[in-house]
């Protein structure tokens, strides 16, 4: 057993942990990162964000080729291997791995491969994969161990017929049919992607609409697209049992009496924080009822020199937020100014079509302000959308009742997750709706939708004003 002394030890090397480590190193501190897996990067790189987006990219390419079938004489091969669809994944993850290692090296951050246990308020014990141990001592400890798919105890996930989001992409072939349990981000992303790939998909959840935290018009739009591609959403349904029928299908029995039989079943009923091996109770770090580590606004746990960031502390559990949380945790630990607190978080959902949101939804805005104005632009009706043959898409601009203050932007359609940043910057700068009318945007671009939505919103407000 060897002892090491550092200023900061970060447990986990996903987006939050990595950012915390780099922030600490940039401030001149000696930093160590402990990573359980072989390579740094976290579930985001190897099991989550990057693999699913690689599959999405393949699905979107297929849609474009289908739209141009006359030019490419395109047909989806019947014996298409899943590995073929995500064949770029190895290159993407390998490049990402190199890039992360490079960042760690450049910043003189020590990387320890092993499972971490918080053995004291200033001490982390690392069990290496060969069974050896190291003890790391540090003033500050940052926990960023992420999360894993949650398997309800009554659903027998076997990674053969009943899968979770970790084992889903290692299927040999595309299944003929797939039931997806849940209607959160991961469930909707995979349901819509597999549906686009020709798999008969059933999306089942207890909530009446998928992605219930989003603007209702946007989720309606998503459902229409999902059903147009052959998917079926069964909302307001409780799951009674999920069983491999021992023959050829997984039977999902619902409380309503319906039985859905499909070749495979994906369980996407949330994620669990990876806290167990940390043994936090031994040092008094408190966790909430759902297993998340409890933190204050500076990401301090109940033990002041131990911080926690990312999926470990619960929603929004976005890679983008985790990075910022990691940076802010270190700023607080080192008594540095982190800048203005962020209260505007853009959300990106890499489904088909892509969905993005920033600020308030129409329902939230009405709830908060009473009256609001809404401008809409169809992405597929913009010149750029027509040229590229975009699938149907919608941009919603939501403002106060006077058509001035922008309250939120909601987008569904091609490149929504990029397009949202224009709206985010306008919100951050406090620009009014007229900003999009009075300034020049490139033509033809998808961003033109902002101008169209702004014009519609302003016309609507003027009409209402004239009538009043």
């Amino acid at each position: 057993m060897t002892d090491y002394a550092h200023d900061i030890v970060v447990v986990g090397s996903g987006p939050g942990g990595l950012k915390a480590a780099i922030q600490g190193a940039k401030a001149g501190k000696r930093v160590a990162v402990v990573e359980r897996d072989r390579n740094p990067g976290g579930a985001c790189v190897y099991r989550g964000t990057i693999p699913s987006k690689t599959l999405l990219e393949a699905a979107q390419t297929i849609i474009r080729l289908k739209h141009n079938a006359a030019v490419f004489d395109f047909n989806l091969r019947e014996d298409l291997e899943v590995a073929t669809l995500i064949q770029r994944l190895d290159k993407v993850t390998s490049s990402h791995n190199h890039s992360i290692r490079d960042q760690l090296n450049r910043n003189d951050i020590d990387l320890f491969h092993g499972r971490a246990k918080i053995s004291g308020t200033n001490q982390v014990t690392v069990q290496h994969v060969d069974g050896g141990e190291s003890i790391l001592h540090a003033e500050t400890i940052v926990l960023a161990t992420g999360s894993r798919p949650r398997t309800p105890p009554d659903i027998p996930v076997d990674h053969e017929n009943i899968l979770d989001s970790d084992s889903l992409l290692s299927m040999l072939y595309l299944p003929r049919s797939l039931t997806v349990l849940g209607s959160g981000v991961i469930a909707c992303e995979y349901a819509s992607i597999f549906s686009l790939l020709g798999v008969k998909v059933y999306l089942i959840d207890r909530s009446e609409r998928p992605l219930a935290f989003l603007d209702e018009e946007i989720t309606d739009f998503f459902l229409q697209s999902f059903e147009r591609h052959g998917g079926t959403f069964l909302g307001g349904e409780s799951i009674q049992s999920v069983q491999w029928d021992g023959v050829s299908e997984v039977a999902t029995t619902l409380a309503s009496g319906k039985v859905i039989k499909t070749e495979k079943n994906l369980v996407a009923l949330g994620r669990l924080a990876n806290v167990e091996s940390l043994q936090l109770d031994q040092v008094g770090v408190a966790c909430g009822p759902r297993g998340h580590v409890l933190v204050n606004e500076d990401y301090q746990t109940s033990v002041p020199n131990i911080y926690a960031v990312g999926d470990l502390i619960g929603p929004p559990a976005l890679a983008s937020c985790s990075m910022e949380q990691g940076r802010r945790a270190i700023c607080h630990a080192l008594d540095m100014d982190p800048g203005h607190a962020f209260n505007l978080v853009p959300i990106g959902i890499y489904a088909v079509p892509e969905i993005a949101s920033v600020g308030l939804s129409e329902q939230e805005a009405i709830q908060k302000y009473g009256k609001v104005c809404v401008g809409r632009a169809r992405l597929d009706e913009t010149a750029r959308g027509l040229i590229s043959g975009s699938e149907a898409g919608l941009l919603k601009l939501i403002s106060d009742e006077h058509g001035k203050k922008i309250l939120g932007v909601q987008i569904i359609g091609d490149n929504a997750t990029d397009l949202i940043h224009v709206g985010e910057v306008a919100l951050l700068n406090g620009n009014e709706v007229s900003f999009f009318q009075e300034n020049i945007l490139n033509f033809p671009t998808m961003s033109e939708a902002y101008r169209i939505a702004a014009l519609q919103l302003l016309n609507q407000c003027h009409r209402v004003g004239a009538l009043a």
Binding site: D79, E81, S167, Y173, P175
Partner: protein
Amino acid sequence: METLLQPNVVPLREMLESRLDDGEIKLPVLPVVATQVIAMANNDDIDLSDLSQLIHKDQALAGHVLRIANSVLFAGNTAIVSLQQAIARLGVNMIGEMATVISIQGQVFKAKGFGKEIDQVWKHALLSGFYGKEIARAMRKNVEAQFLCGLLHTIGKPILFQTISDIQEEKGLIPQNEANIPQLIDLLHPRTGQLACEKWKLPRQVQACCSFYLNRDKTSEFQDSVAMTYLGSRLAEWCLDGSELSVDTLRQEPVFTELNFYPDEVDALLEKRETVLNLMETMVQA
């Protein structure tokens, strides 16, 4: 490896390599049942009765499947008397797996004069397939793909035994139990397996495992699957009767670290030995 070969085997090696180079090695046809079962996951047109009919066409195969279905490991309280019943009881996947295993054994794992060797290779392949499933499950990877990789990773070996047997018959050159033949088989089977996989149009993942499981650093894709196949192969070797591989040596395998198995996870995997052996025995005895 090369320097270990006795001089009297070199001509055989040259003959085998020349046949591999010239594409003159006789590759068996992948049994129809195996082709259909592998394709089944992806074919809307195949249903339960199709599989049943397919197996029925080969009486010996049907008999084998029913014997396995009625074995101690799988049988319930009532005897299974029909294939439809077997499929209903054990599932398409299991029956398909059995049919694939049996048909590949019957058509590929045979070579006159090498019965004992082939028998060992066959047992090892089955154990590798079943252990592959356990490894994949532990890693939260899909288990069905790994079964196929394990089962077929040494498919080049029986083909080479058959080729040597053919050469012997044609030329009368090689003593049947030449001591260094196993070394030659070890050396050339990945390449032979790769040729078979290409001919049979097996999934790329299976091809990579056949070609690279002994040279993991040479593959640019499916690294995890290739490493899992190698580990399955080593665990299978450990399970075999008379194996010289001790559990302590096995624990030192760098592939455990490579696949990120911590000591307690290695223990859990080693504890699957009896389960895997039972499955193999059931398949072999039927």
